[in-house]
């Protein structure tokens, strides 16, 4: 790639990585799987980058149970490893994660990381939409100081996150889902290697009578500079009996929740239409997982 790199570092510890990032300031960028570097370069966003800090050798890998039914995904866990985790695939509440991993090609799943896809802050990416639907939290470290950032506050703009300069994501934590919760994700794409036209991730909780007591509806893809939480669609569903009628109401409401992008992948009108179809289908899939 045509970068003007002075050096490429493989730090052995988080501390060493932090020191490098502080030394280079705006001239350094963190890489893990590295699959996003090209995308930034072709957009002309790496003209100041003179050092890449490859954190892929740090001990930040693995998925574990946390708290009372939640999960913790360390930042360097690859997407392929997430796809294989029984802790996730056996729990319908985390169904949206498995769905989101059905789309990227093997070559990306094998190197792309949990932390990297979130840090990229690109609403066109699939897995972060699923994490948002599950109220995920980012754990980040800056020169030894840890902090927690809710994903809801994390995405600031296109390729812009709440991370401070030098701050490194160490894990994504998913809180314990409520009882009778399921989730689902759908992506509309032109081919396996393209970015999404539209993504929908939903989480649905119902009570014993079948009423929807809580839900999240997240939109990604061509919906603007950041992911969108579809609040009006959620409001149309919350408190209603979970089923065809309330899903149709949520679908009708979703058009008020986002400004559809118009680009070479699809027109804005098409995106508005397909958002309704996909909200309905994704909710139906989540409901079917509740058995």
């Amino acid at each position: 790639m045509a970068l003007n790199l002075e050096d490429y570092y493989l730090p052995a510890s988080l501390q060493e990585a932090s020191t490098l990032l502080q030394r280079y300031g705006a001239g350094a960028m963190v890489v893990a799987g590295g699959t996003f570097v090209h995308g930034l370069e072709v957009r002309g966003l790496l003209s100041e980058t003179v050092a890449l800090v490859d954190i892929s050798r740090l001990e930040l890998r693995g998925i574990s149970a946390s708290g009372n039914g939640g999960i913790s995904l360390k930042a360097l866990t690859t997407l392929a490893e997430v796809g294989k985790a029984a802790l996730i695939s056996k729990n319908p509440a985390f169904g949206c994660i498995g769905d989101a991993l059905r789309y990227p090609p093997r070559q990306i799943l094998n190197v792309g990381t949990v932390g990297g896809c979130v840090a990229a802050a690109a609403p066109l990416y699939d897995l972060p939409a699923a994490f948002l639907a599950l109220d995920g939290q980012v754990h980040a470290s800056l020169a030894g100081t840890q902090r927690v950032i809710p994903l809801n506050d994390f995405f600031v703009g296109l390729f812009e996150s709440a991370l401070q300069r030098g701050e490194i994501i160490t894990a994504i934590e998913i809180p314990a889902p409520a009882a009778r919760t399921a989730s689902a994700f759908l992506k509309l794409e032109t081919n396996a290697n393209d970015l999404s036209i539209l993504n929908v991730a939903v989480r649905l909780t119902r009570d014993q009578a079948g009423k929807c007591t809580d839900c999240r509806i997240i939109l990604g893809g061509g919906v603007g500079e950041t992911y969108v939480r579809a609040s009006s669609a959620e409001a149309a569903l919350r408190g209603q009996a979970a089923g065809e009628a309330s899903f149709a109401a949520a679908a009708a409401a979703v058009v008020a929740d986002f400004e559809a992008v118009e680009d070479h992948r699809a027109s804005a009108a098409y995106r508005r239409h397909i958002a309704q179809v996909y909200v309905r289908r994704t909710l139906a899939t989540a409901l079917s997982r509740l058995g």
Binding site: D7, Y8, V31, G34, T35, H38, L52, R106, Q107, N193
Partner: protein, 156 residues
């Protein structure tokens, strides 16, 4: 320039490279391992697929410095010393799965990971696995046939 050691097809190669050279560039331009093809050079076509530690990756998206010390396998590393073909290579010939041939090495490196991890994959699994590799000649039918044929032979 940086001097690094790359472990490719079981042999160690010491190369002096620029910090921003991708594995694809080093394989083709510095080591003359030209079985790995340069297509889109942006992670979209799959021609440059190789394996790193047994996992298929796009070599155009991986920096060579970052691959130091890892076990790299290219199409030249399949089979035995260039005389005995790998079951996948043999099956691609027999099934007529090669037309212009530009995508072939990448698809074989991808299918090689699939067959190492999945015994007798069905058609859906094969098609899903090679979704990140484009072929603009064959329409994929004969490629899928070839992978099935190799899978059957490997399973015995």
């Amino acid at each position: 320039m940086k001097t690094i050691q790359l472990l490719i097809n079981g042999a160690t190669h010491e190369v002096s490279i620029e910090a921003d050279e991708t594995l694809l560039q080093v394989l083709r331009n510095r080591l003359d391992l030209i079985g790995t093809k340069k297509g889109c050079d942006s992670g979209g076509c799959g021609c440059c697929s190789i394996q790193v530690d047994g996992k298929v990756v796009y070599s155009c998206m991986m920096y060579a410095v970052g691959a130091a010390g890892k076990a790299i396998t290219t199409i030249e590393g399949l089979g035995n010393g260039g005389t005995n073909l790998d079951p996948l290579q043999q099956a691609f010939i027999e099934a007529g799965a090669v037309q212009c041939g530009y995508c072939t090495c990448g698809i074989i490196m991808n299918a090689s990971e699939l067959l190492a991890t999945t015994k007798n994959p069905d058609e859906d699994q094969i098609r899903h696995a090679i979704a990140g590799n484009l072929c603009r000649c064959t329409g994929y039918t004969k490629i899928v046939d070839a992978i099935k044929l190799a899978a059957t032979r490997i399973a015995g």
